[in-house]
């Protein structure tokens, strides 16, 4: 090792140490979610968060997975162990949107999950399934090497009254292309799921889609960071909420450098007594000129008791940027319904068709227009 290399290494180590210390300080100060915390204002923390905390804290380190499966022909995956310091550090450095206290507890006890290092193009979708009947708190790490194309499908399945608290860290190198589809679902009456995702884009292309089905309560915190010019990150979400379910989505698009682009499209169909919350933020750092950043939240309200809270946000500290956000919440178009009904389709079916069409737009964008679902 040359002198310069030794210096560089020492410097990098010092930086990492400082960053970890900072995280530790942040964790020490972190408070449990409550309604006075702006990031939890509409998310009903008084009803849901406490139980989540209790379950994370009370759980011992046994494996509570009903099923943890990975279909990966390329053998890129390794089962996580606690002894891996690198992974622990990566997890410590993760950003949350108001849930540092929960992440801290997760790190104290995390044991299971998968780490995926994708070095070669994959032809088949890598599938990861986490399934629980009680409570599980998995970690997932996905790293994609320069120039590699891959697609990953993560399924979080809460059976019966299962709860999941998941942390997911995605790093994409220059020239790489990654598609991640995250599906959180429940077949029971009280499935709850919370997912914290960090996407670090170093110059590749990332598409990230989340779908929540049948959960009583779900919270998403997605932080997408763009670190080099030419990075492109697209975030999607499409959900249909029924019953008295609550979906609480928080996103942050952080442009550290100029010349990168990010886009977000979150659509929800809200029926019955359900509540959809979207709080997004685009942050363009000082000097990150020539940034393109967009954010769009669309909600279709189907019942009198459905509720939508939408808080899109922009913080622009640079010049020569193209940024916009839009939010619209409206009922279903009567004319579209009338058109379908006049062709003999029942009102209920017509509603489902229009709602499907509304959400299909997002799925098409994720899968590519040609591969219509």
């Amino acid at each position: 090792m040359s002198m310069e290399e030794a210096f560089a290494l020492a410097e990098a180590e010092a930086k990492l140490k400082a960053a970890l210390n900072e995280c530790q300080a942040r964790f020490d100060k972190a408070k449990m979610p409550d309604r006075r915390n702006e990031d939890w204002r509409f998310g009903r923390p008084h009803v849901y968060a406490k139980q989540l905390v209790d379950t994370i804290t009370a759980r011992d380190n046994h494996n509570y997975f009903e099923r943890m499966v990975i279909c990966d022909k390329g053998n890129a995956a390794t089962r996580l162990t606690r002894d891996d310091d690198d992974l622990l550090q990566t997890e410590m450095l993760m950003q949350t949107i108001g849930s540092d206290a929960l992440l801290k507890r997760h790190i104290e006890r995390f044991e299971d999950g998968y780490s995926l290092y994708i070095e070669e193009d994959t032809t088949e979708v890598i599938e990861l399934v986490y399934e629980t009947r009680s409570f599980c708190s998995p970690s997932t790490f996905i790293m994609v090497a320069p120039g590699v194309k891959a697609e990953v499908h993560i399924i979080y399945s809460c059976l019966e009254i299962g709860n999941i608290f998941a942390a997911c860290n995605i790093q994409v190198a220059a020239g790489a292309e990654l598609k991640v589809r995250v599906q959180a679902e429940s077949d029971g009456s009280d499935g709850r799921c919370m997912i914290i995702t960090n996407i670090q884009n170093m110059g590749g292309k990332v598409m990230h889609l989340t779908e929540y089905r049948g959960l009583r309560w779900a919270r998403e915190e997605t932080v997408a960071e763009l670190y080099s010019p030419g990075s492109e990150t697209k975030l999607f979400s499409a959900n249909r909420l029924v019953g008295d379910s609550v979906l609480d989505q928080h996103t942050r698009q952080i442009h550290h450098v100029g010349g990168a682009s990010s886009d977000l499209l979150y659509k929800n169909v809200v029926d019955d007594n359900a509540t959809a919350i979207f709080a997004g933020n685009i942050y363009v750092a000082p000097g990150a000129h020539n940034t393109d950043a967009y954010q769009s939240n669309r909600n279709m309200l189907l019942s009198e008791k459905a509720t939508v809270h939408s808080l899109p946000g922009l913080e622009i500290l640079a010049d020569k940027v193209r940024c916009s956000h839009g939010s619209a919440s409206a009922p279903m178009d009567d004319e579209q319904l009338f058109y379908l009904c006049s062709r003999g389709i029942s009102r209920r079916d017509a509603q489902l068709l229009v709602a499907d069409g509304f959400l299909a737009d997002v799925l098409n964008k994720f899968h590519g227009e040609s591969q219509s679902s």
């Binding site: 000082p286 309200l301 008791k305 509720t307 919440s329 409206a330 009922p331």
Partner: protein, 466 residues
């Protein structure tokens, strides 16, 4: 060349020596309140009311997640809460003391009154110095006095609405204003009376470390219409000056109120104003808001749409130079069916200036057929300028439509190049582009103000780049 392509309008930058008969000193205590009440000769219920508000003010925390960081630098003990020449306003221009008269003459108030106003109220530090209204209006039953006189002479109209739109415990600054309020206007327009000319108030802070807590209540009875304009200036001192007004509007059935503000405080002024209107059935309230001055502005005009088919509108322009934070926005509460609202906000950030939009649109449960449209656009002039947008939109039920759009952009180099090619200087081109950006909003201001606004922007551009 100056760092910023703009210069702040400096016409308000002059000061006359202080010459006050009443001075309550620094800090706000029960003794201060007794001093204010004694000076004004207020009834006991007002004294008790103020003291109760003071207690709440001390109990309440500073606003947290909404407030910008700069607000914690504000020291309530270093503010003077009551300074006045006398407590009764002069009705004739000749009687106004010389230094006050010179102040307002310099700001062009008497000419404007002669030219196009129906009435004027000029506040100097804590009290109104001059108040006048055209005679034919008082014959129609229009009341236009300062708040002290309103409470004394028209208690039966004033008191039922006093603190009803903005309650004392709304937030810390509302409590502060309820405790220390002085000056501001009380206006009552009777049923069916439509004012063809606007009423104007002029707010002037002359003294150092002054806190101005004006209180305005405007009641438009059924079918009445009026336009009210306010302008604000202050000289720049080294110590902070606080302007924390409360403005309550009540538009009864079918009434229309337009409230125009052009705020040009000096950059050491904290401008923390609460403005809220209550619109009953078929009524309309429009806030037209222009923020050019002050170091820190927090101002979110609100309309509570309380009656069926009520309409609310906020039109807002803000200009943030280096050292300024314009935290402005709008709130619309749809509390009745078929209510509609519109928000258009445009901001310009220059140098290291920061302009933020904060908004709330809330369609309450069970309200059908409500519509809201929100647009906010930001223009960034320099690489160090900053802009933020933080809207919060809540919709309950499937019978209302709400949409929000925001965009951020900068003056297009190509556009400037095109204009320069045709013989304009860069400053002229820039000024034309900025004027184009806010053109559709400037049209909403009364003629005299819109001409003034355009001239202001032209001037600032030419001063710097040309």
């Amino acid at each position: 060349m100056d760092e910023s392509p703009f210069q702040i309008d400096t016409r308000g930058e002059f000061v006359f020596p202080e010459n006050h008969r009443f001075d309550a000193g620094y800090g706000l205590t029960e003794a201060t309140i007794d001093y204010i009440c004694d000076a004004k000769g207020e009834p006991d219920w007002v004294r008790a009311f103020r003291k109760d508000a003071l207690r709440r003010f001390h109990e309440m925390p500073m606003p947290t997640h909404w407030a910008p960081e700069g607000i914690n630098d504000l020291d309530f003990d270093k503010i003077r809460y009551y300074l006045a020449h006398g407590t009764a306003p002069y009705k004739s221009w000749e009687d106004v003391p010389d230094d006050v008269k010179r102040t307002f003459e310099r700001l062009g108030v008497p000419e404007q009154e002669r030219a196009f106003l129906a009435g004027v109220d000029a506040q100097y530090d804590s009290e109104t110095a001059y108040n006048n209204m055209r005679e034919e209006l008082s014959k129609q039953g229009v009341i236009f006095v300062n708040s002290t006189e309103g409470l004394r002479e028209y208690e039966h109209i004033f008191r039922p609405w006093f603190g009803k739109v903005i309650p004392v415990n709304d937030n810390k600054f509302s409590a502060l204003n309820h405790a220390a309020f002085s000056g501001g206007s009380f206006i009552y327009v009777p049923k069916g009376v439509k004012l063809s000319q606007p009423l104007q108030a002029y707010f002037r802070i002359n003294s150092e470390s002054m806190g101005q807590f004006e209180r305005t209540l405007i009641i438009a009875d059924e079918g009445a219409e009026l336009m009210y304009m306010e302008g604000c200036t202050a000289p720049k001192y080294d110590s902070a000056t606080l302007h924390s007004g409360v403005v309550e509007l009540v538009a009864l059935k079918g009434a229309k109120i337009q409230y125009v503000t052009v705020q040009n405080w000096a950059t050491n002024v904290y401008n923390l104003v609460i403005q809220r209107g209550l619109a009953m059935e078929d009524a309309e309230i429009r806030w037209i808001d222009c923020n050019i001055g002050s170091g820190l502005t927090m101002k979110y005009p609100a309309v509570v749409l309380q009656g069926r088919r009520a309409r609310g509108e906020v039109i807002s322009i803000s200009l943030a130079h280096s050292g300024q934070l314009q935290d402005t926005g709008a709130r619309m509460i749809h509390a009745a069916p078929e209510t509609t609202s519109n928000i258009v906000a445009k901001s310009i950030s220059i140098g290291e200036g920061r302009a933020s939009y904060r908004g709330e649109v809330n369609v309450l449960k069970g309200m059908k057929g409500c519509k809201n449209n929100t647009e906010c656009d930001a223009l960034l002039i320099n690489a160090t300028s900053r802009t933020d947008t933080y809207p919060a939109i809540s919709v309950n039920g499937n019978a209302s439509a709400v949409q929000h759009e925001a965009s951020v952009s900068q003056v297009d180099e190509e556009m400037l190049f095109y204009m320069q090619q045709r013989g304009l200087t860069r400053a002229q081109a820039m000024s034309l582009a900025v004027n184009g950006f806010i053109n559709d909003l400037v049209k909403e201001f009364p003629m005299e103000y819109s001409v003034e606004l355009r001239r202001l922007i032209d001037l600032e551009m030419e001063d710097s780049i040309g």
